[in-house]
């Protein structure tokens, strides 16, 4: 089991979010693997530490002050705050740049193949490096066929042998078996 999967499983185990069979699987692992037990202890300690903040109290809601501000029309002149969750716009720009770069790269690659008269079968694997370069523009994670959240890079590392034998009909995206990057 990869580190990422192990941590996810152990967290779900701690949070009591596993079904009976998955729980039994984790318990069997804990029984035989000392490092997994140590990791679980660290996770439990961190969770306990965070739980200290769960009972934090907020001051009373200042209802009168809010009503006064409403009546006085405070903030009325200001525009509504835009919905700018962290980095959303930045990532949209990066994504747009990535799509553009991919398009140009693929265009140049296609032009190169056609102008050389070579076929995809004859192209050495090492010459297909731009595909790996494109993969780096994928989102940081996805969901595999079992519904597990997977780290893209970790997944690709794990399947490095498949990438080395990459052919145009066996692209990386199908090997992720996705609809992986569920964007709303």
């Amino acid at each position: 089991m990869r580190r990422f999967q192990l941590e996810s499983k152990l967290h779900d185990y701690l949070a009591n979010e596993l079904d009976a069979s998955a729980r039994a699987e984790v318990e069997a692992l804990l029984a035989r693997d000392e490092s997994a037990r140590a990791l679980l202890d660290e996770m439990r300690a961190a969770d306990d530490a965070l739980s200290l903040l769960r009972d934090r109290q907020a001051p009373e809601a200042p209802l009168e002050a809010i009503q006064r501000q409403i009546a006085a029309g405070v903030f009325a002149g200001r525009p509504e705050p835009e919905l700018h969750a962290w980095g959303t716009r930045f990532y949209k720009r990066v994504a747009a740049a990535a799509v553009l770069t991919c398009g140009v790269s693929l265009g140049l690659l296609g032009h190169n193949v056609w102008s050389n008269g070579s076929t995809s079968v004859e192209t050495p694997v090492s010459d297909r490096a731009p595909v790996v370069h494109d993969i780096r523009k994928l989102p940081e994670m996805g969901v595999d066929v079992d519904g597990n959240i997977v780290d893209t890079y970790e997944f690709l590392n794990r399947n490095r042998n498949n990438l080395a034998t990459f052919t145009p009909t066996d692209s990386v995206t199908p090997s992720l078996e996705i609809d992986p990057f569920r964007r709303r």
Binding site: F4, E7, S8, H11, D12, N16, E17, L18, D19, A22, E42, M43, A45, A46, D47, A49, L50, S51, L52, L53, R54, R56, Q57, A58, P59, A61, P62, L63, A65, I66, Q67, Q69, I70, V74, F75, A76, E80, P81, E82, L83, H84, A85, W86, G87, T88, P139, E140, M141, G142, V143, G147, I149, D151, F181, R182, R183, R184
Partner: protein
């Protein structure tokens, strides 16, 4: 099927549980009354969401005074926009998005540095310490706050919302306008970062106590 997976599927299908549906229905009644100009109904809405709004702002700013100002400003803005608010939309997501955005605006205005000012942390710790009789517990809380403050915003905010405020992953996804999977990933990273730093700090503390 794991609860997390069930949650994910429910999120993707957009179907709330029955308890959530009842709560939303009650909230809608108050919102409808607040839209009609009933100040008591709006007060109910403020009271219901104040604590989480306050701590959401605080988790961005690490400043109690500003957190109070931000939460207050957010509710005033909500009231102003209430007439045009569509009751079919999820109110909590809308409100906390406004809180978060106002907090981010305040933070940007305050400084562009991601780190939390040390004097603010000390101020906050002192304020919290005053309410905690157990000195050892207070010191531990201080260390938790310090470790949390060292995490980048994109990891600290979802971690605080989930593991401290108790929001669900799908609520956080809507609030931050990212996918369910992204939140899961950031939570994973955040917990890992927090755990590593926390383990290091606790070991150092243990060594110091033993020597």
């Amino acid at each position: 099927m794991s609860e997390a997976r069930a949650h994910q599927l429910r999120f993707l299908a957009g179907t709330p549980s029955s308890a959530e549906a009842n709560e939303r229905s009650e909230e809608k009644d108050f919102l409808r009354r607040a839209q009609a100009g009933d100040p008591e109904a709006f007060g109910w809405v403020v009271n219901k969401h104040w604590k989480r709004a306050y701590w959401t702002a605080y988790d961005v700013l690490y400043d109690h005074d500003r957190a109070q100002d931000v939460a207050q400003e957010a509710f005033v803005k909500v009231h102003r926009a209430l007439q045009s608010y569509d009751l079919a939309r999820d109110f909590a997501s809308w409100l906390y998005r406004i809180v978060l955005n106002v907090a981010i605006d305040h933070k940007r205005r305050r400084d562009r540095d991601r780190s939390v000012p040390t004097d603010r942390i000390n101020e906050m710790v002192d304020a919290r310490r005053a309410h905690i009789e157990d000195e050892a517990k207070a010191a531990k809380i201080e260390r938790v706050e310090l470790v949390l403050s060292q995490l980048p915003d994109k990891y600290r905010i979802p971690l605080s919302l989930k593991d401290i405020e108790g929001m669900s992953v799908d609520e956080i996804a809507k609030l931050l306008d990212v996918s369910y999977s992204t939140v899961r990933w950031r939570l994973h990273k955040a917990r890992k970062l927090f755990r590593e730093k926390w383990t290091r700090i606790e070991r150092r503390e243990e060594r110091r106590n033993n020597s």
